[in-house]
Symmetry: D2
Subunit: 483 residues, 4 copies
Amino acid sequence: MGAIDGKGFINRINQIGAEIWFDGEKIDGKISEHPAFKGLLQTKAALYDMQQNHDLKNMMTFLSHKSGQPVGLSYMQPKTKEDLIKRRKMIEHWARYTGGIMGRSPDYLNTVLMSFASSVPFLKGKENCFPDHLQAFYEYAMENDLSFTHTFISPQVNRSQVYFERNKEPITAKVIATNEIGIVVKGARLLATQGGLTDEVLVFSVGKILLNEDEAFAFSIPSNTRGLKFICRDTFVGGDSSFNHPLSSRYDEMDSIVVFDNVLVPWNRVFYYNNQEVAEDFISRSSFHHFAKHQVVTRQIVKTEFLLGIAELIVETINIRGYQHIQEKMSEIIIGLETMKALLERSENNATIDEWGYMRPDIAPLKVAGTLFPKIYPRFTEIIQLIGASGMISLPTENAFHSTIADDLHQYLQGASKPAEERVKIFRLAWDLTMSAFGTRQTQYERYFFGDPIRLASDLYNSYPTADYARQVGRFLQLETEE
Amino acid sequence: MGAIDGKGFINRINQIGAEIWFDGEKIDGKISEHPAFKGLLQTKAALYDMQQNHDLKNMMTFLSHKSGQPVGLSYMQPKTKEDLIKRRKMIEHWARYTGGIMGRSPDYLNTVLMSFASSVPFLKGKENCFPDHLQAFYEYAMENDLSFTHTFISPQVNRSQVYFERNKEPITAKVIATNEIGIVVKGARLLATQGGLTDEVLVFSVGKILLNEDEAFAFSIPSNTRGLKFICRDTFVGGDSSFNHPLSSRYDEMDSIVVFDNVLVPWNRVFYYNNQEVAEDFISRSSFHHFAKHQVVTRQIVKTEFLLGIAELIVETINIRGYQHIQEKMSEIIIGLETMKALLERSENNATIDEWGYMRPDIAPLKVAGTLFPKIYPRFTEIIQLIGASGMISLPTENAFHSTIADDLHQYLQGASKPAEERVKIFRLAWDLTMSAFGTRQTQYERYFFGDPIRLASDLYNSYPTADYARQVGRFLQLETEE
Amino acid sequence: MGAIDGKGFINRINQIGAEIWFDGEKIDGKISEHPAFKGLLQTKAALYDMQQNHDLKNMMTFLSHKSGQPVGLSYMQPKTKEDLIKRRKMIEHWARYTGGIMGRSPDYLNTVLMSFASSVPFLKGKENCFPDHLQAFYEYAMENDLSFTHTFISPQVNRSQVYFERNKEPITAKVIATNEIGIVVKGARLLATQGGLTDEVLVFSVGKILLNEDEAFAFSIPSNTRGLKFICRDTFVGGDSSFNHPLSSRYDEMDSIVVFDNVLVPWNRVFYYNNQEVAEDFISRSSFHHFAKHQVVTRQIVKTEFLLGIAELIVETINIRGYQHIQEKMSEIIIGLETMKALLERSENNATIDEWGYMRPDIAPLKVAGTLFPKIYPRFTEIIQLIGASGMISLPTENAFHSTIADDLHQYLQGASKPAEERVKIFRLAWDLTMSAFGTRQTQYERYFFGDPIRLASDLYNSYPTADYARQVGRFLQLETEE
Amino acid sequence: MGAIDGKGFINRINQIGAEIWFDGEKIDGKISEHPAFKGLLQTKAALYDMQQNHDLKNMMTFLSHKSGQPVGLSYMQPKTKEDLIKRRKMIEHWARYTGGIMGRSPDYLNTVLMSFASSVPFLKGKENCFPDHLQAFYEYAMENDLSFTHTFISPQVNRSQVYFERNKEPITAKVIATNEIGIVVKGARLLATQGGLTDEVLVFSVGKILLNEDEAFAFSIPSNTRGLKFICRDTFVGGDSSFNHPLSSRYDEMDSIVVFDNVLVPWNRVFYYNNQEVAEDFISRSSFHHFAKHQVVTRQIVKTEFLLGIAELIVETINIRGYQHIQEKMSEIIIGLETMKALLERSENNATIDEWGYMRPDIAPLKVAGTLFPKIYPRFTEIIQLIGASGMISLPTENAFHSTIADDLHQYLQGASKPAEERVKIFRLAWDLTMSAFGTRQTQYERYFFGDPIRLASDLYNSYPTADYARQVGRFLQLETEE
């Protein structure tokens, strides 16, 4: 089968018919026609179409060693720096189509699954671990171009530091039984982005320290598995008009709570379970962080370029280039962009082959980028609001431009270098990215992409060779206790 | 007539029938029943009802010296510190009803008109100035409890520093002719909040340096004056449900572009025109800034209390009080609140009688508060997002809680100290204040309430007695050039 | 005896002859003539002289109820708001003499002792507590105008969160024995500012949570008590010239490590000991924080005025008032100054009588000021460096202005509005306050005046009535779990 | 002759005997023995010694094409990326010797002169330009290993935006006459770091917009040229002890005002004069910024490593690794370090051959680094102060550790993982870098290394291809006015 196209994707998702709850109702009929989902699904279809586009095929796919078919390039396991760069270019290309806004374009979780598969040997011989299942599933997913959602956050009942769940009925998803067919999971996970809109749900845990044994698992199941329910948040699609809502009309990825109502996961889909140590170590010792961050940082750079372009368009439109404070704000975005690019480049330059033969990008600059972006992205959205100022508020709709009042709008909303309609388009884009419900969800999403910022800072410090630098200073001071 | 109640207000606004354009259509029928406006008008009606409430009447009104009728207390010209405090308590009371969110509750522009009237003598004997018109109009407005919108921003065509409008047709509203009946105005103004939803439109300019002679005017006209059009932005009402949209369903004040299509302003409504010097000096030498800022800072304090309450509810709900970074964030809001309160208190303590006999609050602390709030308010909304974290995203709707999926929600969304439904209510409120289109418009609104922050900083510096402190240091250093 | 003058003070300190170690040598001879101490002691003498100055006497002293003598006003126990304001004016007056720079002018610890005495009833009937000793000592200190240093920081061996001292020999000062004459103390305390330069050393603990029983005490002993040693840091006096070193030549307060080498503290000087609960509660329930913070905030306001004056002198001297970024920086200082003033004013306005009959200023605004100043003061010193820019570096000395090269200096270092010599004086002052070893110690000192900033933030949050605000929002949302 | 060693350097500087004024006196005798200069000169000598060190020679020098002699590598004109990296390694090596603290190690101005020489063709055929003089002087300097100071700041009389000097006698150095022998210069320049301590003074202007014709020149003259005077600031050498003053005792570079008292610059040392356009264009179009910033950023990275090492030593010494806020602060330094490294790496990766055949590093990432470091360096010094906290203050001297009080110090100042003496050494280093007069001058120096930060931000924005990004967004929005 190999790499699919948009039509194939849409058909498959419609057929799956996962149990999705939206505003108190279970969705019936074609999901691809539902107002809250159609824009997003069309956008994803457009991404898949690139895989079949004659000019792009070489960039977007590679030939499977197994089937000889072209398969999605984000499934490729890199063995050289050139492979890494190929991966990055493919990721960039998809990211550019949405201005870096689609956080869960298919390459993200494809990359995660690829990183897991690249660390299969780690699981060998460990209790309750099934490296062969993982390897086989990776190949199956690649050959069939499966798409994924995943979910790694437990319900936020009580975030105090010493909380242990004591409820009778599980809240956090747990293995409550095993049988011949597989493991039985009950409970919930939060924030499955695009939940129900993908072929599969990949379930595993990251960085939770007080992980219970029965929460220590990794598996993947089809979205329409019996007992699996997706409960959506409110939609952030502002409407159909891409004039009024240039982003939300097309890119609202939807987030949902995933309920596991005694879901039976067959053994061949279980990668490991009931092994707390492996659950922690696999994530930290595999190439998960390396490849996932490489994908994310690439997309975030494209997004920063998009932001810089919007900011510059506003500056041009109302002719404010001459102001010192505008120059400072613009230079802040430039500093962010160059920094992110330099960090990504450094991670590729200093990539090394891991113990299993794959080329891992250097993790330190990627961690830095991953710690930085959650701080600078919200600031960039603030800068756009500060540059747009009062102009961000009084924005009429597409219909107004097609009404008898249009002449007034053309006269009174003209920009220094743009007609009124273009000016309103530009400001509506800026608004949709930074001030609509869609836009603020983007901000919150980038802020927490890799989890708690405080934990990220600790992890960066704890994994960095600061002792080397201390030793150098120790020698400078001729301390006897530092060699 | 005197102070009105809610019903009287609604009837009057429906009768006025201003020309309001919304999403390309002219509004027909009762404005009080239109989905984009009904919530706001009901909220305003509730405010007016307090004027007739037996228990509150004494706090909300005072007896007119002229008619002997109870009239709205925000119209009162303060002559003592007690008067100032009475005004503040009245303002607080109205502000509390909306958590300080309604920026243009009627007391704001009542206060502005009162401050103008309190400086009537300044206009005496000056060219093209009509102090008697202003005095008479103030009394008329007070006795009839008129409500106002106003508009002081010119279209943002070109914000470069040296821009002079050269269009043939005016863009910025201008006096293009005068005749026996009055002055003729053509052009537009931006950002009339509640435009078309008030009895009158008060038009004047603040702080524009390159003011042209024909833009130098102040007047008030009924909202239904011939040639006057209000072109609305998109609505930020999220829907009718106050569970889903606790704020936007009730408080979206709407902003509009005001078009003056050869509007004839009768002479008795013109306070001054074609006098650039007066246009600048009246604003800076009258008590406008004193009383307007006194009203605004009072409301902003109430809003800060509301924010602090929301933040604390989140902390309680998910039990995160023990985290050091939560404590720091909460203390930031507390510092802001105590600081704003202290500045307001200082402005009242140090109030002085002005040359025309009115008790002006001290302006320096109010300017400081007015410079501070645009910085701390956005930070407070960010703090709420940081405290709420991922919990701000996955919020189901009211309908979901009344559907067959409700049990799952009750189980998986429960908080440490609150049932799921209350938890969702709290987070939805936090979301509506900081992340909905309604909420981000609030943030932008507070950021620019008193105009360009850079100009505010310059003005604060230039009006502050820094030379006195320099002189003290000069004496410390025994400099000969400092006496 | 009553309030002393400068000469009396100098004589007394010289006679005391505490054991002070400076740069590896024990100080011999008159301390008032030692280059590291003479400037400071002369400054303190000038402060005491004000108590005998005919014009100031009424402001600086009050008549002791006991002796009928005029005694230092900082010893006065306030019973009315007028008393509070009297205290504040006295504090301001002393602070102005040094631009608010002398952090440990005598009024600071006089105030502390006064606050202790005002809470004497708290100690009544508690184990190992001697309220009568405290009351008698307060009266004795007041009548003799004793001056104090104090010390409340334990050695910083190991600041990890779970450290318990396990050394055989005590490091932190402890009660190691008691006998008929008193308690025996061994160990050290850090950072006694002006250690050895005062009549007495007041020893107690603040806010240490893991306080051991044997570290839980409060007492006062003469600086020349046997076994008491003061080990000084390096001097920060830059030299004698007040042109070159306008601040350090006069105000370097010196900090020292205090060693208790089996010091015997007589019973009549012990206020409490070996009572951990009292040690914590006395500090938190007495008026210590109220009065100490009232003194400190008053001084910090004077210091901010001094800083603002210096900044303004620089602006004038090199004529940079027109720059937007200068205006913003100056307005930042103004915002800080008005805020501090407003908070102090609010604390006085809302002062209340405590259970023992004394008028305590409201603590919340003082805590806010105490949390704010450690952040804004370092920023203000940075602003001065940013305003002075490269001009802060190339500053010639007084001798250069009296040499044959003087003409070149007059020509090339002239300012826009000042001759070269005055310009250099101004910049040297700015440098000495923000960039000399003296100045950076000032910055560090203000940063940590009330201890760990993180603890301050927690304490502010935990003592603030946030639940009230949560309840209001609960009512707004009609939550059933909030009444 | 070629690359010199330390002894050669010291002898040459002593022989030159420039006219240096220090504290009102003209320096007589060997400058290398003067307390204010000896430490610095010994440090420089140690750097030069590396050029003759057998193991380092290959890294520190290259063979002159002209003389065949080994000459200093910082004089090398790079033609390949490998050359660039060679240059960077040499720069790093010298920088490491002083922890990156010596801002004007000889490689800095060697690099500047090299960049000028690499752009010699630009001057060809232009009025008042002498490309041959520049080329010849570069070769002469290289072959003789000359060292330089330079000076590009005009006296700060009046920094207002529209200031024109109107004094009769020049203040800013100007060409006041020309004759057969050369040009005559009168006036002053500020901030010649190491002024009088180098062979030569290189004089040119950077980035001054209102440059007068007679201030538009570039030349180099020996430090002992008749009429040339260096007026020093006060010394920041704290003393001879490297225990007490580990940095200032060895690295105080001294800054001076340079007075040109009718200095005659011979024609063969004039590179251009009286040509305003060339003076501006040569700096912006030559490789000056590329190579100078490449040197500076390399050194700043070494300095950041030094800072990180100090911070880590403090953390270890008092065992505070476990604190969240410590981890955050440490991660801030790490983020800065990785970012600077990534930017430098990117500038090398993307280096390109310029029109005259030399390999220029990419300027954008270097500009970003040059805009970033002035903000992060002061923050890093603040972090060190915050980590060291009260421990930064009470630091006894070397003598104290050799006195009878030493036992007390050993007991009471011990650290968790270090004996007292080492702990004090570490803290003294931290203090000398961030809080001594030497250290704060370092901070101010890094803040302004490339001049006014606001101008840097404007320049970054104005040179960045933001229009490309605007165009991409224009296409996304299908704007007709953007192609």
